[in-house]
């Protein structure tokens, strides 16, 4: 799927110290992936709790959104930091798959969305004045983050 112009970058990634070390250490990948999955659980769980509020499902406390925000930011950082060594240890698998580039595009979109309009439109005041818009923002947020998780699961397969 990716254009061949990306090939030198992926080839280089596989020759770096980080890439070769993770690839050559038997336990490194599963251990890093465990942290990746834990952070994913924290992120998706928080995203669900925060955004389902717009639909009147589950948590209805505005202060929960504030409390979970740092967890969302920390889990995104952990996901990226653990994702980089995993991708670098098998760059050709990522280069050849459809899931990896789709996941990266969705990731950029989800981060951009989360820190701009999602926040503004789902704020309590904004949600009261325009509930439809807050539902769209919340629904898109859930959809984006869940798709990133599914695309990640797809990397070894397609």
């Amino acid at each position: 799927m990716l254009s061949e112009s990306f090939l030198p970058f992926f080839t280089w990634a596989g020759t770096t110290w980080l890439g070769t070390t993770v690839r050559d250490t038997v336990w490194a990948f599963p251990v890093i992936e465990t942290f990746h999955l834990l952070a994913l659980a924290i992120l998706l769980g928080s995203v669900l709790i925060v955004n389902l509020r717009a639909f009147g499902v589950g948590n209805q406390r505005a202060e929960m959104t504030m409390q979970l925000e740092p967890w969302i930011v920390v889990s995104i950082v952990v996901l990226i930091l653990s994702g980089i060594p995993m991708a670098m240890s098998e760059p050709m698998k990522c280069y050849e798959s459809y899931s990896f580039p789709i996941k990266m595009i969705l990731l950029v979109a989800a981060i951009a969305w989360h820190f701009t309009l999602q926040r503004r439109w789902t704020q309590p005041d904004a949600a009261r004045s325009n509930p439809f818009r807050s539902k769209v923002a919340a629904g898109l947020s859930i959809l984006l983050w869940a798709s990133i998780g599914i695309a990640g699961k797809g990397i070894p397969y397609v």
């Binding site: 599963p30 251990v31 992936e33 465990t34 659980a41 992120l43 998706l44 769980g45 409390q67 699961k153």
Partner: protein, 162 residues
């Protein structure tokens, strides 16, 4: 019938071998299994963190459990159902894997821990949940659950590779 014999019989069933041989069924069910982690583990962890006094300290324990435990059950049922299908497709591999055995033991410990907590201290939560420091049994239950579920995820990852 031995346990191994049961596993061989199970994965030879047409629907179980169908999941294994299909190009998309196993990864899709695995994806649901992974997503269910976030529906279950994070709400469960938030309850554990509350018991440890590390999150939502201004809210009572019963209000936190009332909000999050329904999600834990939804996620848990999803995980058990998707996990049972994944197990059926690779029953013999799972049976032989030490990671899988430890994973099942850890899930049993998590269940036992939750059961003991609910039957003992949580029964009279109203008498202690406003205290700044919760009873030691509540704190131990929270710490135990947190560690055990992280272990379950780690064993699941080990199982996929070993």
């Amino acid at each position: 019938m031995t346990v191994l014999g049961f596993c061989e019989w199970l994965q030879a069933l047409p629907w179980a071998s169908g999941v294994k041989e299909s190009s998309w069924q196993f990864p899709v069910i695995e994806g649901i299994h992974s997503l269910a982690i976030s529906v279950m583990i994070w709400p469960a962890a938030l309850v554990d963190l509350r018991l440890l006094g590390l999150a939502m300290r201004r809210r009572t324990v019963s209000s936190v459990t009332g909000q999050f435990l329904p999600w834990v059950w939804v996620g848990f049922i999803l995980m058990v159902m998707s996990g049972a299908i994944l197990f059926s497709a690779e029953a013999v591999k799972c049976y032989k894997s030490p990671f899988f055995r430890v994973k099942i033991i850890l899930i049993a410990i998590a269940g036992l821990n939750a059961l003991i907590f609910h039957k003992s201290v949580f029964g009279h939560a109203a008498s202690w949940e406003k205290d700044p420091r919760l009873p030691w049994r509540a704190r131990v239950a929270g710490a135990c659950s947190l560690v055990v579920w992280i272990g379950v995820i780690a064993m699941g990852r080990g199982l996929a590779y070993a």
